[in-house]
Symmetry: C2
Subunit: 205 residues, 2 copies
């Protein structure tokens, strides 16, 4: 495993990122987690609602509970920290006033808030949370690249019992949990990328 | 608007990215789009299914159709190219064999395919496509950062009539359209980021 002190370019971060399941026991300094989340929080969201929320789990007992909620995936107990990424549209919409851009004059500010209200008016609670969950994955893309840039390895997990995760972390029952992300200094190289060829994915018209 | 020839770090790309609605008319070279999509395609997905697909629209008549499907958002007609990001779980699952990692021995290969089958067995077509749509947003996060790294500006749009987008581009009716992303050389600076403070988003336990 090679690490670097130079910040990685986007291409380097995407190329070097691997799903890593084995980690050195060293704690991840809080300042590093905060730097990674500060980049993550720059991800765009529709209406700038930023519905993503993060719980950074380092407590051994809580990690044990997460591991049990995630079918015992060993990267949870093996990693010094696990970032739980969830989304909360109820919270985001209740505080929509805080996300409207401060450069907007008063009338456009009111218009922006009305647009949000109109967009979600016909949608029930579940539909709103499903919508927010999608936005959460934009932040996940950012988070994985930001962690790689800072010399950390990760493993994003999407398969777990969300109710048990929420119970362990005292999260409200209405929030979707997008991912658990183990993070630390990897002690294995991980598998090389295996991806479909671009011709299979892209069409120019 | 400043551009750079040096590839940007993840933090630089996230910091400089803005939603940009006005572009120079210069076409985006196909090689640049392919370089950006090659990075995007390195995004991780559950089971490595890579359900994301891309249509790169440069044809004026098709851009007009997209603009009409997207409530006339001016960044579509103003941008030299629009990348339509959609997901296709039917296609991904029908070709699951291609995504299993080649390093796996035969028995683990069969096990990986059975895991996929088991996970989706209880899910109907719509649920599968909704699941795939979420994965698409991981790729969107990557795409926006990769475009910024390559000196391009973008505007991701999530509000449009998906049926009209699919009709214009001859996409199958079952696929969710995750986003339209205008891309080009921006001729405006865009608004500075306005984000919730990290204390509002993150909790350490």
């Amino acid at each position: 495993v090679t690490t670097t002190t130079r910040a990685l370019t986007v291409t380097e971060a995407a190329s070097r990122r691997r799903s890593i399941w084995a980690y050195a026991p060293d704690l991840v300094p809080r300042a590093d987690i905060e730097a990674i989340l500060a980049v993550t929080a720059l991800a765009p969201s529709a209406f700038n609602l930023q519905p993503w929320r993060f719980v950074i789990v380092q407590d051994a007992r809580l990690k044990q509970a997460l591991a049990e909620a995630a079918h015992g995936q060993r990267q949870i107990l093996g990693a010094p920290a696990v970032i739980v990424l969830y989304t909360d549209m109820r919270d985001a919409l209740a505080n929509a006033d805080a996300i409207v851009h401060p450069s907007l004059p008063e009338d456009r500010r009111a218009g922006a808030l009305r647009s949000i209200e109109r967009f979600f008016a016909g949608k029930g609670d579940d539909e709103r949370e499903d919508w927010g969950a999608q936005q959460g994955y934009i932040a996940l893309g950012y988070l994985l690249l930001a962690a790689a840039e800072h010399g950390y390895q990760t493993s994003p997990m999407l398969g777990f019992d969300a109710d048990r995760v929420k119970a362990a972390l005292d999260l409200p029952s209405h929030v979707p949990v997008a991912a658990l992300v183990s993070i630390g200094r990897g002690v294995e190289d991980g598998r090389p990328h295996h991806r479909l060829p671009l011709e299979r994915l892209a069409r120019f018209v």
